[in-house]
């Protein structure tokens, strides 16, 4: 079983297409929608976790690319600016996914981009503006 966390960028003409339905029906994938957003210019962004057989997942991704959807990996969407972070850990109890975590006993704070669901909760919680969303 393979799992991918992705951001699907829908251009305006695809916003009304049943893309997730096709992914589920045609490729036998599990699609978990983490977040959705439609911009004022009617473009859509869908944050999803897709899981299924590796071959099916790859086929599904090819289908999305053929449709004209830009697919990004989630890890690129949220960034921790290392030089701003003081490793206090204030964000850690707020982060729901475990992407921000404390290593014990050194108490260093790590950021695991692949676990992040880009919920943005850490952005106002960080006093040093270390967490930025490039969404």
């Amino acid at each position: 079983m393979a799992v991918k966390r992705l951001i699907l960028n829908f251009p305006a003409h695809l916003v009304d297409q049943p893309v997730t339905y096709k992914l589920i029906k045609k490729f036998d994938l599990r699609v978990n929608i983490l977040r959705a957003r439609i911009t004022p210019r009617e473009e859509g962004k869908l944050m999803v976790e897709i899981s299924g057989k590796k071959s099916k997942l790859e086929a599904g991704l090819r289908y999305l690319a053929e449709l004209g959807l830009a697919v990004q990996s989630l890890a690129q969407e949220v960034n921790r600016r290392q030089e701003r972070c003081i490793e206090c850990g204030a964000c850690v109890s707020i982060c729901p996914s475990g992407a921000l975590a404390v290593e014990r006993p050194t108490m260093h704070v790590s950021f695991f981009g692949d676990k992040c669901i880009a919920c943005e909760l850490c952005v106002p919680a960080c006093p040093y503006k270390a967490m930025e969303i490039l969404f």
Binding site: I86, C88, G89, A90, S93, I94, P124
Partner: protein
């Protein structure tokens, strides 16, 4: 076997001093025992890096030509107002000062993106800051306005002066209400879903010398990346609170007033912070060396997180109303584990004080001493301790009855009702 600071400095000079940090010393004492370790160790270094609101800096900008008297006038640095109630070109900038046009909490919760603390960080980073001044003009200081870029290196003096830093212990904050609250202890989720704390515990300076035996006025310290000094006890210094058997206060107690030349400091160790819904503040890095004069000093300096306790306080009701009720006591070992138990409920914890950076400061200070770059100073006056009889006072309000009395008449002692 007792040692003196002078003897320790001799050893530092000859590269023979044994220096460990306040974390390493715990293991060392466990292995060798207090007696043996006290003969071996000369200095224990401590550290803390956390938001400390009562921080600020004073500056002498140099005189303009023609001269201007900023004293009694208005000055902003990058739009943040500075205090001018001094001589011609002396200024004080506080870390929580905000630009006039910052919306503050009018759009709740406010972002507080930039304030006095950020100006201090920018200056220390070597950046240009815009100085705008309005003055009233005098015969000797005729100029009335100024709008100029200024840098730290251009100023005559730039001194960090923090009237309260390095709190000896602090509250653990929770929120018992049913709405999110935004505090200086960070975002607190309703129904006690998280707890925040703010101390480096076993690494924190005053936790390691709980009765201030070696720390006092004149003690040289690591401050903001440079060398600074303890000026005395800080504001709200309150040594008479309840303590554990190990002497460590079980709640906020002693504080330090510190100063140091801003020009030697670095923005890695002085950092502007924005607390959503609360305001701006300065994260300050401080490290205090503790000379191991005898076994007792070492016993104090080898305190560990499991033996340091703090009180859990509700920041939705109890704290704002100045109602000192504790919901329970927890140790720093529990706090650092990631969750504590309060009234039978498991609560996730997060620190505001960076333990990782505190350790780094203690390590840097250790290196400075080992390399003979930093010597210990004898303190000239001790900080008030448990026998000082200090009482922490709330404000006794004496409301003004006749609000209609104009201030001018009041000052003259004239009764306006005549």
């Amino acid at each position: 076997m007792a040692k003196t600071i002078r003897e320790i400095n001799e050893k530092i000079k000859h590269g023979k001093a044994v220096v460990v940090d306040a974390e390493e010393v715990i293991e060392m004492v466990r292995q060798k025992g207090i007696k043996q370790a006290a003969t071996e160790v000369d200095v224990v270094t401590t550290g803390t890096f956390a938001p400390m609101c009562s921080s600020g800096a004073y500056f002498n900008t140099g005189h303009s030509r023609p001269r201007i008297k900023l004293g009694g006038g208005r000055v902003t640095l990058n739009d943040v107002p500075a205090y001018t109630g001094f001589a011609a070109v002396d200024l004080f900038l506080g870390s929580t000062a905000l630009p006039e046009d910052d919306p503050r909490n009018r759009i709740y919760p406010g972002k507080f993106a930039y304030g006095g603390a950020h100006v201090i960080e920018d200056l220390v980073a070597g950046k240009d800051v815009r100085l705008v001044a309005q003055a009233y003009g005098t015969d000797c200081y005729p100029r009335r306005g100024l709008d100029s870029w200024i840098r730290l290196e251009d100023m005559n003096e730039a001194v960090l002066f923090n009237m309260r830093n390095a709190y000896q212990n602090y509250n653990v904050a929770v929120n018992l209400s049913d709405r999110v609250i935004h505090t200086y202890m960070g975002l607190l989720q309703p129904g006690m879903r998280n707890a925040t704390y703010c101390s480096a515990g076993q690494l924190s300076p005053l936790m390691n010398d709980p009765y201030y035996r070696t720390i006092g006025m004149g003690t040289a310290i690591f401050l903001g990346g440079g060398v600074g000094y303890i000026v005395g006890s800080g504001t709200q210094h309150n040594p008479t609170v309840p303590r554990g058997e190990n002497g460590v206060p079980r709640m906020g107690a002693g504080t330090l007033c510190v100063m140091g030349n801003l020009k030697q400091m670095s923005s890695r160790w002085l950092r502007g912070a924005s607390f959503t819904g609360y305001g701006t503040t300065l994260a300050v890095g401080i490290g205090v060396p503790i000379p191991i004069l005898d076994e007792e000093v070492l016993r104090f300096a080898s305190v560990q997180d499991a033996d340091i306790f703090a009180q859990v306080v509700d920041y939705s009701e109890a704290y704002p109303n100045c109602n000192p009720i504790s919901l329970g006591e927890v140790s720093y070992a529990q706090l650092k584990s990631g969750s504590i138990s309060v009234r039978g409920k498991k609560v996730k914890t997060a620190g505001l004080s960076s333990y990782a950076r505190a350790k780094e400061i203690a390590t840097i200070l250790r290196e400075w001493i080992l390399n003979g770059r930093f010597f210990l100073t004898e303190s000239s006056v001790s900080l008030p301790s448990v026998d000082s009889g200090i009482q922490f006072r709330p404000l006794t309000e004496r409301p003004v009855q006749n609000r209609a009395t104009p201030m001018g008449l009041q000052r003259l002692g004239v009764d306006s009702s005549i």
